[in-house]
Amino acid sequence: MSRKRSVLSVLSLLVALSFVSVGSAADTLKIGFNIPLTGDIPKVGEGSKFAAEMLKEEVNGAGGLKVGDKTYQLEFIYEDNESKAESATAAALKLITQDQVLAIIGPQASKQAIPAGEVCDSYMTPMISPWSTNPQTTKDRPYVFRACFLDPFQGPVAAKFVSEEFGAKKAAVLYDIASDYPKGLAEYFKEAFEKIHGPGSVVAFETFTTKDRDFSAQLTNIIKSGADVLFTPQYYDEVPLIVKQAHELGWNKPIMGSDSWGSAELMTLCGDDCKGLFFSTHYAAAGAKGATKEFIEKYKAKYGYVPDDVAALTWDATRLLLQAIQETGGLTGNLDKDREMVKDALAKVKDFDGITGKMTFTPEGDPIKCAVIVKISDQGEFEFYKSVCP
């Protein structure tokens, strides 16, 4: 008898508790983060999470986010997508249906952002990818946005830069054919470079597949081809191997990279071999001013290292989302309706002043913003070298 009663009392307590949690949920805003905390690029996930945590503390510390006449506390839910496409869709689905988030930040890499964007769009949940530069991520998806420039813009920027800076007439490309981002960017670079120097001026267009560690055969071909510059739009865990092996095989011409190079981890893995190389990216930590500098200093004081571009873009993407939520002028509490309102507000954003530059959105959900060329200095810092605007 007493056991039955205790079971009953526990049950009623549970029911009461669940009512309480429903009651308080009205005053929190749930935002999901679909980021790679493990897998190939865990540093990217870590940077994203740190930046988001910093922003959350700042907003919640100031009392919360004011939307219309109500103030909300922020609740961020981090879901690990293991840097895999299939896990990214599963994570998006979980955030949308189970955690009932208002909107999603991430995934970061295009490989995950393209399939996850499909999920978010079909479930009519706003998604902002901070770092995905492949056009397909947002194409024909009204609910999907991004906080960075696109590969069709970055490719020509790199092609133009190597032609002007190094006087390159012939270029070689080495990229991972099994990954959306490098593949897309390699093709845009080739197209742009051949437009400047004529067809056939990309003399070596070599590929490998994810997880490869030995590039000696491809690099031997590249060296033989007589190219003036090597363009390799790879992630920070492959770049050190590519660069080191290229130097070992006798390559001493410039190597150019893309925004995927810009991880805080690149220099600890690459060391001296990467010094003096260039890459195009979203922001440069060395020589930053204003709000950007403030962000960098705060981040560095809190986590002990200079934030990379993913952290900065996640910061911008999350702030962008918060601003859009504020601009809805008040949430209804009906999740479907709120999600639609946030989407509409995001599409209307003009001249958003982010720490990675000013952004105005096109109807596709892509911002118009400038690219930065960074030079890796002899101290191993990412130094601002040049700014290239559309």
């Binding site: 560690r213 030995d214 491809q218 050190p240 070992e248 981890e265 600890t268 893995l269």
Partner: protein, 308 residues
Amino acid sequence: MEVFLQNLLNALQWGSFYALIALGYTLVYGVLLLINFAHGDIFMVGAYIGFFVASFFLGKYAFHLPLDLPPSVIFLLTLLLTMALTSVVGVTLERVAYRPLRRKGAPRLYVVITALMCGLLLENGNLALLGASRRSFPELLPKAVYDLGGVSVTNIKILVIIAALLVFVFLETVVRKTKLGMAMRAISYDRMAVPLMGIPVDTVIVFTFVLGSSMAALGGVLFATAYPVLEPYMGALIGWKAFIAAVIGGIGEIRGAFAGGFLLGFIEIFVAAFFPSTLRDLISFSILLVFLSVRPTGFFGVARATKI
């Protein structure tokens, strides 16, 4: 011609790694008729142990040696200590996972599945323990690039190739010329009769695991020296491919592991060099498949009645 020579060197280095790992598969199979699928991950563990040992000798931790050693001495010490420590891991695996099953007379299939699980355990244990972030193997040997008439060679490349050849000579001698080697071959021949002759089977098996694991450790440290980015899953794919190399060579035969390893290295490099590199795995494994259908026991293998 230069390109051919350059790729020949590339292939020799790449094949050396396959050979060093394939060896571990072959040694254990030769004695126990067990495919030790955890071996690729033992290789990974070797690389990680090498990383920590090297960092220790370089004085990167709070507790360090009172004297500064020259880098080449550190490299040698790292190599030896890593081989010893990795052997401990390999033997522990045998003690904890394989021996109890063997004692209970479990069919070999179960032991193979256990081995697969042990491999996953090592990978994910590492992930849980050390996190997913990449580690950079310290540069112990100052890199020197030699240019020989258009062909570039580094001292590391030469070291790797020589090490693989020395290991080959060493193991051939051990297995063919020593008593312990004779015992190893005897166990694979008839496991029931050997204990009756007074040969301590368990000791021989432990010795086999020591040999296999220390060669994987050697491979791991050399691999990390040549490709200095460490990650928990680095042993998985290369381990599988080395297993294929061991089968091609005729599993159970040391010559076979080397022949298979170098063959796979050559095919991979030359396919990537002369065809679009996208086709590398497709072409290289098609070649190997055709080869196996013609000679199912590999180069040096002998057909046995039971295999798994």
